[in-house]
Symmetry: C2
């Protein structure tokens, strides 16, 4: 039969940005964002995002240029998820916990033209800018000062380095602005940086198409663009504050939330611990929820779901779809089942585990390990038809995937990815250090913490042997706090393969035995 070729009416680029136009029509009066004493409707959010997109264009932002955001979960952070790509720019969300040096590298690498800076991060960003090489063009800075919004009065923060306040820039924008549609659904919409497995942060850009497919997965969950698709309400939280979380859950009848396993742990150990008066779906990823945490959180009314994804996959691509009948099983069995990462999401075409030698799928016996590979519309990279995750896993007889070795070197601490080579490079820079290797040490609170193994230079070269405390202090001066090893083990020599590579799996066993 005749071929069905793309044409202008049916090949409109897939994008999630139009969801906001629709939300303004379909859910105009419904609350979109709630934060302290501020609340917006979807009509207002639509209008504010168009205004901000318009202002960005007036400031000279052009299609494909990068605009960065350094802010916690405040309303402007949500608005910028739409407003930045609506101006045609690429949205670059930056972790507020990075150090000035890393931040400076990211801002230079991304060639960011404008940086939105939360007032709590202003000194960090100013320091990062000061580290730019001479004669380098600096990005323009816009100050997010939500306390001004809440109190209605101007902030007293120094704004000499800033172009203006967020609200000032927004007010100048045209609420009738015709937002910049992508020319192709493959146009980049978001640029994220992953710490990756090498010491150099890697830029991961996701297309409008990828974000659309991801959002399809997220329609039943609580991610920014999906919320605009269903007209839900975003409750913003500047930081993890337990009593506030419990208060907001009750006050706004929160249905969905996300949290790293460490957040689950905190929720279940809270002194404010109370049974919820309704069920709350909580999605966790990064590490399986341990049985005692699962038991406590579930008894309180949280319904925990577990998923798996990477920066390169635009978020969760495998989830532990829960079966009704499993509810009847004892807790330990439920925890075991829930600790598995699960099945591919609807938007992820395939998740498989391949034998590294044959390249063929491993036996589905829950024992035979191989490399986890993925393919699907939300992925960033690929070769040979698959994206190779670097993670080692098994497939159970029921088809559910389980990650066995989270990856050769990444350490996940409190939900943050730590690249061990990045920490190692700092250790290697210490004058007394000969060899260094950093591995994950299991930790009840953080999930994992970095544990450093170092061998020191021979006596003749050293004036004095550094202590564990000195090494930790040395790292603290050069790394974000969460990346600093919590323990340093001195070895005369690190275990190595015949080809000279450090055998991290041995160090990991030692670190585990010490935890």
């Amino acid at each position: 039969m005749e071929l069905l070729l793309p044409n202008p009416a049916n090949s409109t680029p897939l994008t999630t940005l139009g969801f906001l136009d629709r939300a303004a029509t379909a859910y105009g009066d419904s609350p979109s964002i709630v934060y302290n004493n501020v609340s917006y409707t979807w009509l207002q959010t639509h209008c504010r995002c168009l205004q901000m997109a318009s202002s960005l264009t007036s400031l000279g932002i052009q299609r494909g240029q990068v605009v960065s955001v350094v802010a916690p979960n405040v309303p402007s952070m949500y608005e910028l998820q739409f407003a930045v790509p609506m101006s045609g720019a690429v949205l670059n969300n930056i972790n507020t916990r990075l150090d000035a040096h890393t931040l400076s590298i990211l801002l230079q690498h991304s060639e960011s033209k404008i940086v939105f800076v939360d007032h709590h991060s202003s000194s960090l960003v100013l320091e990062a800018i000061s580290l730019f090489p001479r004669n380098t063009r600096h990005p323009q800075l816009i100050l997010i000062d939500d306390e001004m919004v809440s109190s209605g009065s101007k902030s007293t923060s120094s704004t000499s380095h800033f172009l203006d306040h967020y609200e000032g820039i927004l007010e100048d924008g045209d609420p009738k602005f015709k937002w910049v549609r992508p020319k192709s659904e493959w146009d980049p919409m978001v640029l994220n940086y992953t710490s990756g497995t090498t010491s150099c942060p890697k830029g991961v850009s996701l297309s409008h198409r990828a974000i659309f497919i991801k959002t399809m997965d997220a329609l039943v969950d609580c991610f920014p663009w999906g919320m605009a698709a269903v007209g839900g309400t975003n409750i913003c939280l500047r930081k993890v504050d337990l009593s506030q979380i419990y208060r907001l859950i009750k006050q706004h009848k929160v249905t969905h939330m996300c949290g790293a396993p460490v957040v689950l742990n905190m929720l279940s150990n809270s002194p404010d611990l109370e049974t919820l008066d309704h069920h709350v779906q909580i999605l966790t990823a990064g590490a399986p929820p341990p049985a005692p945490v699962l038991a406590r959180t579930e008894s309180m009314g949280f319904v925990v779901s577990h998923g798996y994804g990477l920066t390169e996959t635009g978020g969760m691509v495998v989830s532990c779809a829960w079966k009704q009948k499993w509810n009847k099983l004892p807790l330990t069995e439920r925890a075991r089942l829930k600790s598995r990462q699960g099945a591919n999401t609807v938007g992820c075409t395939e998740a498989e585990v391949l034998d590294p030698k044959t390249g063929e799928p491993v036996k589905r016996d829950g024992k035979t390990v191989g490399e986890v590979v993925l393919r699907g519309g939300s992925l960033m990279l690929g070769e040979n038809g698959w994206f190779y995750t670097g993670d080692v896993g098994v497939i159970h007889p029921d088809g559910y995937l389980e990650i066995k070795d989270r990856s050769k070197d990444i350490i996940i601490s409190g939900g943050e990815n730590i690249s061990s080579p990045e920490v190692e490079s700092v250790l290697y820079s210490h004058p007394a250090v000969n060899e260094a290797a950093v591995v994950a040490k299991p930790d009840k609170f953080w999930g994992e913490t970095p544990c450093a193994f170092v061998s020191l230079k021979k006596n003749g070269e050293l004036t004095q042997k550094p202590s564990e405390k000195e090494i930790i202090q040395y790292c603290r001066d050069r790394l974000p706090h969460y990346m600093v090893p919590k323990m340093v083990v001195f070895e005369s020599e690190l275990p190595k393969t015949s080809t000279g590579k450090v055998q991290k799996f041995i160090l990991r066993r030692i670190a585990k035995a010490m935890s």
Copy 2:
């Protein structure tokens, strides 16, 4: 920043077929299809669809060839939605209410290689095949005999014209069959025929991409591929049987159903009328639900939603997203709001009403009419960046679309689209008829029925003037029952425009006045 080009890992074609693989893993033990005393799990449905896809391949079916289905909502009908495209073939669902002549044309036009035939439609299909021109290749026929499945015994229907029974063909298939993935997401997956506005049925093919985007919209509703995405249960019904509908809703705690307005009318007028013990979402389209019907169905526990779509758009693309606050309004006001078609769905990029002269969007005042145009990933056709629906509508100040004149000529009777030129061409073929025009006449039961206006040939040419009854009988011999005019009005001359076109809007007013 650097461009993000498609690569083999992230440009896997969008398709809904993989949902079935995932459903087998994630919801394997959950019921997938329930019909009389037959029930399947998602694991079984997955296995059976792979077997049938395998058998189709063994029968010589090749990528892009058409396989047709003439069957009501029985389990095999559901399975074929996956099995046919999983063999690489294009699925062609055919209305069981067509006459043998039309059916014959569709089967020839689609060059269908295999036709799955429900045992209730076997004589119809055999007649359609007998109308094929001599020396034309006939499709192979496979008999769907679900009573055999239910009772476990072979049917006694004559199978001499049939290759085999559905179950026999399926049993020969390989449950480990590697299904045929589309080479491109633009590959056709489904071929539907619309009666359209011309007398010739128009083939509308929808790509894997279009069906994927449509299914995203349908994730919260009850359409075949979406059900596999969420692991829901399909309750099959051979026909609209009120007492059975009520029994099944209670027995299986049905959450979602679809029905033309005529079904809503029947539900609310049922002698078995009972209040449901849980809410049932019912989606209706084709005509707005009238206030009394809305009042009765809502009081019984149905939550009625209203949408708009065309064959060419792969289903609903505009829906009347309901606002909480509207629940407080009086019934007549709620009915008025719900009678509007609404806002574009998440998967539909834009729905607009354009001034036919300027091509610009009309004023959003609920009064200025224009042509309804659409664009989005699930559409079939397009020109000038828009798909022109031929329907006339307005946009209300709140952004909701309302169709004012359902289209210049389509009549929707009991949920069936009737192309007036198709009926007119039969009338024109009558020896006594000079001019003919068929328009919709409002009908409490069917929504609309076809009403014919004819002028007869002058006396000199006629031996005898035909009666209304004779004209109706003449149509009945040549058209499917539902397309036959229920009323024939004789006029000396039909009202026409200066360019000679019949002014149907005048005839519609007359028909309305007579109803």
